[in-house]
């Protein structure tokens, strides 16, 4: 309790003091005002805000001092108190959580998904989530990408998804909100005969009184795509106070809905592994939640003829009712695993003098779709362009796929011989030999049977890893720039007939190439190098008021120091992986992602966290980190000082959070 004299201070003097403190803090911390008038010292959502913009107006760390940032504190992925009680608890090296920051306190799932609260200025523990009667099974698991919060008077809650549970946690002390669901948690297992487990890695999203939960889908099907029988992970909403189910939006259209006809034959009974595993976003004022959905199952779609709605779509839902407001399917009848895998980012733009509240949706296929987020009307026309048909028996492709006329794609959508690596004549020759084994295809060229036309399938850019992914976007409301971070990894699509009795899809990617070329982080290529010309990881900055590319940079050195390239004095070639952008009042931060991210992409050793001039992409600072990033960086102010926190981990480096700041002691 504060002293009586302080409590009895007059309103006028209290208000004056508040104003004075705010002014001092504002000047001292370099805190900018966002355009909506709200100061943002916080990082209220793990994607920056409900808009999934990964933006903060903070600029205490700016171009003049970013070169002096040092490590302010480090924090292990699991609090010591957890390890003392549960010594077998281990954090996966793929350390997904990005903390949220509220009033200088950070909240995040730890390395096993238990929520921890810690001091933003020191990294010291304030509390760890308590689960009454917990067993090891409750403690272990994977971390999600983050948590969300809700406050009503003194009732302050943190919501987190861990395993098959949605938890409500007292934000003051980490205890369970026992009035929520069953003793503080709600089961997310699905209403199927086998009580199928929930599988998701995203955090929940709180919009009004609804906690929105989406998941990966599949029902343990994985991405191998050999079984047609799978259960979509429908979008669900729960009441913030009681945990009661508010609504469900079925990704496989119910009988009676017009979209059901997009699942031909009997396929609607079985097919559809769809989920929404990329971060969601929301327009809280309008009560709209934006859902990016993933692909249907399999690389062969003969058993699911049709467009397969709502796969590969951006769906806008009424957050109160779950009713669909509008949707656009961005890939029809997907056989490439082109999930809509990036968060739909919201931002206000001005196009031809008209102000538009827009949603920007990057795709794995390297397109950036832009819609009026209220009406769903494309800001720039979308063309349905002819794409190749399939020669695989029983496969009927959509004759067209949607392409935005603006803005241009942010990564490769074509491959030709002219695109093959040519750093040296020898590399070029080997690349030609490798490429000759495949039919080179533009985006949306369908998979081919192995051996057809004497080839080992088709080689398509982008491949299943996508150009865009969960890490891709950030939006700067100050400049109208959208930053798309992408990776260039072409994919081989060669279908073999399945033979296993477990396989219920006739063809799959079984990798039966009798003489496969060597594969590295960059996909197939000569001598451990990529097959295509650089860049391999890039940042594309768009002027969204014009729908044009403002600048494009390679992000990271990539293979420029490879022994085969010795003496060539190459510029940065770009590193593959899932680096996540953070845009602030003055800077754009993008790091390099680690080898912990599945597929052995990313780097194994120390990494660089780059600070770019957000206006032109020039490098202002290279900040060394002990390992690559595994989650999005975030920023906030605690005790008047701006921090940038990065989640790092690698197969050879224990995961941890690292806080960077200007001044103070280096560690």
């Amino acid at each position: 309790m504060r002293a009586t004299t302080e409590n009895s201070m007059s309103f006028r003097s209290s208000a004056r003091l508040t104003l004075l403190v705010a002014l001092i803090l504002g000047v001292y911390a370099g805190v900018a005002q966002a355009k909506d008038g709200k100061a943002r010292h916080d990082w209220p959502s793990f994607t920056g805000s409900l808009h999934a913009d990964r933006y903060s107006p903070l600029k205490q760390i700016d171009r003049t001092n970013v070169g002096q940032v040092k490590v302010a504190w480090r924090r292990a992925a699991i609090d010591a108190s957890v390890l003392a009680r549960w010594p077998d608890a281990v954090a996966s090296a793929y350390f997904r959580p990005t903390p949220i920051a509220l009033d200088g306190i950070l909240y995040a799932p730890n390395g096993t998904g238990l929520v921890e609260a810690f001091d933003g200025a020191t990294g010291e523990t304030l509390w760890v989530q308590q689960i009454p009667g917990a067993t090891l099974r409750d403690i272990v698991g994977n971390s999600s990408r983050g948590v969300d919060s809700w406050r009503k008077g003194g009732d302050f809650r943190i919501f987190s998804v861990k395993g098959s549970w949605l938890y409500a946690i007292n934000g003051h002390d980490g205890s369970a909100i026992t009035g929520f669901g069953d003793g503080g948690r709600v089961s997310l297992r699905r209403d199927t005969p086998s009580n199928l487990a929930y599988f998701g890695i995203n955090g929940p999203l709180v919009v009004g009184n609804a906690i929105i939960v989406a998941g990966n889908g599949g029902g343990n099907a994985g991405d191998a795509g050999l079984r047609a029988e799978s259960t979509p992970e429908d979008i669900r909403a729960y009441n913030v106070e009681s945990g009661a189910l508010l609504w469900t939006f079925a990704l496989l259209p119910a009988e009676g809905q017009a979209e059901r006809a997009s699942w031909g034959g009997d396929s609607a009974r079985t097919a559809g592994t769809m989920g929404a595993w990329a971060p969601l976003s929301a327009d809280a004022e309008r009560g709209i939640v934006y859902v990016p959905t993933s692909a249907p199952v399999g690389y062969y779609g003969g058993a699911r003829p049709g467009d397969n709605i709502y796969s590969n779509s951006l769906v806008a839902l009424d957050a109160k009712t779950g009713q669909k407001l509008w949707y656009h399917q961005l890939v029809r009848h997907d056989v490439w695993d082109y999930d809509v895998a990036s968060a739909p980012t919201l931002g206000r733009i001005t196009v031809n003098r008209k102000t538009i509240d827009a949603v920007f949706q990057p795709t794995k296929a390297a397109s950036l779709f832009v819609f009026d987020r209220v009406t769903g009307v494309p800001v720039w026309p979308i063309e349905n362009r002819p794409v190749p048909a399939s020669a695989v028996p029983g496969e009927v492709m959509s004759p067209t796929q949607p392409f935005p006329t603006k803005p241009p794609p942010f990564d490769r959508q074509t491959i030709s011989e002219a695109d093959l690596i040519d750093f040296t004549p020898e590399l070029r020759k080997e690349a030609m030999g490798i490429a000759a084994r495949y039919t080179l295809g533009d985006v949306f060229t369908p998979p081919a049977l192995r051996g057809a036309d004497g080839k080992q399938g088709v080689l398509v850019a982008p491949g299943a890893w996508g150009a865009g992914n969960w890490n891709t976007g950030a939006f700067d409301p100050e400049t109208g720039h959208f930053y798309a971070v992408s990776t260039t990894i072409p994919g081989v699509y060669a279908l073999d007939k399945t033979e296993s009795e477990r396989s219920t899809i006739a063809y799959g990617l079984l990798g039966k190439d009798p003489d496969p070329p060597a594969e590295t982080n960059y996909g197939i290529g000569p001598r451990g190098l990529p097959l295509l010309k650089p860049p391999y990881g890039r940042i594309t900055a768009y002027d969204m008021n014009r729908g044009e590319i403002a600048w494009m940079n390679a992000n990271g050195d990539g293979p420029r120091n490879h022994p085969e390239l010795k003496g060539l004095d190459l510029p940065p070639l770009g590193t593959v992986g899932r680096p996540v952008p953070l845009v602030t009042g003055s800077l754009l931060f993008v790091g390099e992602s680690s080898d912990a991210i599945y597929g052995e992409q990313g780097i194994a050793g120390p990494s660089t966290f780059y600070a770019y001039d957000k206006a032109d992409g020039s490098v202002l600072a290279r900040i060394p980190l002990p390992a690559g990033q595994t989650a999005g960086p975030m920023t906030y102010v605690a005790k008047g000082r701006q921090y940038v926190v990065v989640s790092v981990g690698a197969r050879g480096h224990a995961p941890e959070w690292i806080a960077l700041a200007v001044g103070g002691d280096a560690q």
Binding site: D88, T112, L136, R137, N142
Partner: protein, 136 residues
């Protein structure tokens, strides 16, 4: 491949994985325990890690060979147990029973010729260190 073929492949691979080398500080897992570990591996791990752990069918890292052992060589055997019971299977970590995890550790790391130990308590793994059975 059906489950039977996968199981056969895993069982056939066990002797290959476990080259003829017996290192005192490793746990001398019994042949029966290694075999049971192969069964658990087929049921729980193959989907992501491949039939013998040598290749990733989906997105699990290899559990054999250089890329595996460069991160695990010399570490406590308990650490591998902890990693598996804490993070696997990726779709639903924590569902594996202790005995299943110990058996999988036996399958992945046990040496040949097999020993006589049938480990039932993870604490028995605490003092042992992992050693690549194929290392020279």
């Amino acid at each position: 491949m059906n489950v039977g073929i996968l199981l056969a492949a895993a069982l056939l691979a066990a002797p290959i994985l476990l080259a003829a080398r017996n290192v005192p500080e490793t746990v001398p897992f019994s042949e029966a325990q290694i075999s049971r570990g192969a069964e658990v591996f087929v049921a729980q791990c193959v989907m992501c890690h491949g039939a013998t752990g040598e290749e990733a069918v989906d997105w699990g890292p290899a559990l054999h060979g250089e890329s595996f052992w460069k991160n695990w060589e010399g570490r406590p055997t308990r650490a591998l147990y902890s990693r598996i019971i804490s993070t696997m299977p990726a779709s639903e970590p924590g569902i594996l029973e202790k005995q299943d995890v110990i058996d999988v550790v036996a399958f992945l790391t046990g040496a040949q010729p097999a020993g006589q130990s049938h480990v039932t308590d993870p604490d028995m793994l605490n003092r042992a260190r992992l050693k690549n059975p194929e290392a020279p």
